[in-house]
């Protein structure tokens, strides 16, 4: 089963995303910030897609993307930014760091699943 790594400092967002993705047939690993995400990857997690918030403590989304792109496992893994930020500057910053796409909160579950399924169909 494909695994999605979800990074968000909001516990309710993590719970909600996990629920939606598991319901659609994906395995889900979670982290509350970018540092936890990097640790999961270096500990052996091989996500098919990564969903990350931008504003997180310790290591934010941009920092996470930059570090994840240096790791062999996630060098080319699709990374979708899911954030309240919709500003062009932030979007450019995420893109330059290596983000594959962008969804602005509030997003609809179907919208989110459409993106994830396009990048990685559930088996």
């Amino acid at each position: 089963m494909p695994m999605i790594l979800v990074l968000d400092d909001s516990a309710t967002m993590v719970m909600s995303l996990t629920h939606i993705l598991k319901g659609a047939g994906y395995d889900v690993e979670t982290g509350m910030n970018g540092r936890e995400g990097i640790t999961k990857i270096t500990d052996g997690a091989k996500p098919s897609v990564i969903l990350t918030d931008l504003n997180m403590p310790e290591l934010d989304g941009i920092g996470f993307i930059k570090e994840a792109r240096k790791l062999a496992t996630t060098r080319f893994t699709p990374i979708i930014v899911l954030t309240t930020e919709s500003g062009g500057r932030k979007r450019d910053e995420a893109r330059a760091a290596g983000a594959s796409g962008w969804l602005t909160k509030p997003a609809e579950p179907n919208q989110l699943l459409a993106v994830v399924k396009q990048l990685c169909p559930a088996k």
């Binding site: 309710t12 954030t83 930020e85």
Partner: protein, 183 residues
């Protein structure tokens, strides 16, 4: 006299920071979310149970079969609605918490006793704490309302993205997973 007034303002900021912080910590709806997800899990289980009962039934009853199918369709519809509701609520709560975070941080900075006398926490300092374009738009709206013909203050709103706010931009415009750049 000015020093006393400044000290009082900092005290007020410190108190307000604590109060907003308390308010933010009360924005916890995890019990409600838990109930929502338990309900959707139960509905999912009921739906499966109806299917299993039908499969193992030795009696064929067209009316019951139709009602079973209708019930399963209705359950699926309710589940979708609950999932959507929970997801939207989670995002709304997250957004409200982030705005509260911003207010708390700003008030805490304004309350810092070590801040040299005469220095101020400016609207630009405040704008640096924003986490969404909505906050920046509101900021600019207040600036233009309170300072219509006064000193020119730069708007903090960032350039609008080319796509609609909810639109996703990925492989077509960004880096593809296989490393090919399609910009």
């Amino acid at each position: 006299m000015a020093a006393i007034s400044e000290a009082n303002e900092r005290l007020v900021c410190a108190i307000l920071a604590e109060q907003v912080s308390t308010l933010r910590d009360r924005m916890d709806a995890s019990a409600a979310f838990d109930q929502l997800w338990r309900t959707t899990a139960l509905l999912s289980w009921l739906s499966g149970l109806l299917n299993d009962l039908s499969r193992h039934s030795t009696v064929t009853n067209p009316i019951l079969e139709r009602e079973r199918a209708e019930a399963i369709a209705e359950i699926a519809e309710i589940r979708r609605g609950l999932d959507e509701l929970a997801f939207f609520e989670a995002q709304r709560q997250d957004f409200a918490k982030q705005i509260a975070d911003c207010v708390v941080t700003a008030l805490e900075k304004m309350a810092v006793a070590e801040m040299p006398a005469g220095t101020h926490f400016s609207s630009t300092d405040l704008a640096a704490l924003y986490v969404s374009e909505d906050q920046r738009k509101l900021h600019d709206k207040v600036l233009s309302r309170l300072n219509p013909g006064g000193e020119k203050l730069a708007p903090v709103t960032q350039n609008e993205p080319e796509s609609a706010p909810h639109e996703h931009n990925f492989a077509a415009t960004y880096n593809l997973p296989n490393g090919q750049d399609h910009d």
